[in-house]
């Protein structure tokens, strides 16, 4: 299943689907970093609102994505982690340390616009 990546000005927005396999996540990791390079993006928003399960592999991949994008000089914001998904992550001992998170897409965009002083 392909993850759509949308270009919005200086930012990229990747919207995760519910049923992402490990292979999909790996593909997305490469795809996102390549697009950040191609579009000289300042930041990436990863919207996980639809994700039903965030297991150890998914959260590790998200951390790796954020790390790779930081090495490119851009920033990652994870948005839309559902309350029950957050609860399950905490129980599993999974963290997204060092990765910015926001409530939803709107909050994520507001955070980045403020950070990069972009006025719409």
């Amino acid at each position: 299943m392909e993850v759509p990546i949308l270009k919005q000005g200086a930012f990229l927005i990747a919207t995760f689907q519910a049923a992402l396999s490990d292979a999909d996540l790996n593909q997305l990791r490469m795809g996102l970093v390549q697009q950040v390079v191609k579009f000289r993006s300042r930041a990436v928003i990863v919207d996980v609102t639809a994700m039903d399960v965030m297991d150890s592999f998914a959260s590790r991949t998200l951390r790796e994505i954020a790390h790779m994008i930081r090495l490119r000089g851009a920033e990652t914001v994870i948005v839309g982690i559902q309350p029950e998904v957050a609860f399950a992550m905490v129980q599993l001992g999974l963290t997204l340390e060092g990765v910015a998170t926001a409530l939803d897409l709107e909050e994520g965009l507001a955070y980045l616009n403020e950070k990069f002083k972009i006025t719409n």
Partner: protein
């Protein structure tokens, strides 16, 4: 109507997704809340992932439990893989032999209400977990 047993063969990462989705559907049918269904699906995902990572192939069985006073779900993950030499160590947080975050077994135990594991080196591993409806 009683809900029968569901078996999902685990051979690839795609099967992890299938197993957890079937688990979520069954949890819903058994009357679990959406929040609990997420916890159950996450536990299934970790158990299926262990099969793919350590044993390559195995099976996840899902079953509704209809007790006299309560309803629950039973998840059994089994494989004929290399087995776990030191189960106590595998149940400790942060322990891993595959360079991942660990087996996720301590986490699975926290997500579910009951947890049983048996493993024989060279023969395979069986993890059975239960969660009761609130």
């Amino acid at each position: 109507m009683s809900v029968g047993e569901i078996r999902v063969e685990i051979n690839s990462d795609q099967d992890i997704v299938v197993a957890r989705q079937k688990g979520r559907v069954l949890a819903g049918e058994l009357g679990f809340s959406a929040g609990d269904a997420t916890l159950i699906a996450t536990a299934i995902s970790e158990l299926a992932r262990n099969i793919v990572s350590y044993a390559q192939t195995g099976e996840i069985k899902l079953k509704g439990i209809h007790g006299s006073s309560r309803v629950g779900i039973l998840v059994i993950a089994s494989d004929d893989g290399p087995g776990i030499i030191d189960i106590r160590q595998a149940l400790r947080d942060g322990f891993s032999t595959s360079g991942s975050l660990g087996l996720g077994l301590p986490g699975v135990r926290r997500l579910m209400d009951e947890f049983e594991i048996s493993s024989q080196p060279g023969k395979g591993t069986m993890v059975a977990v239960k969660k009761w409806r609130q």
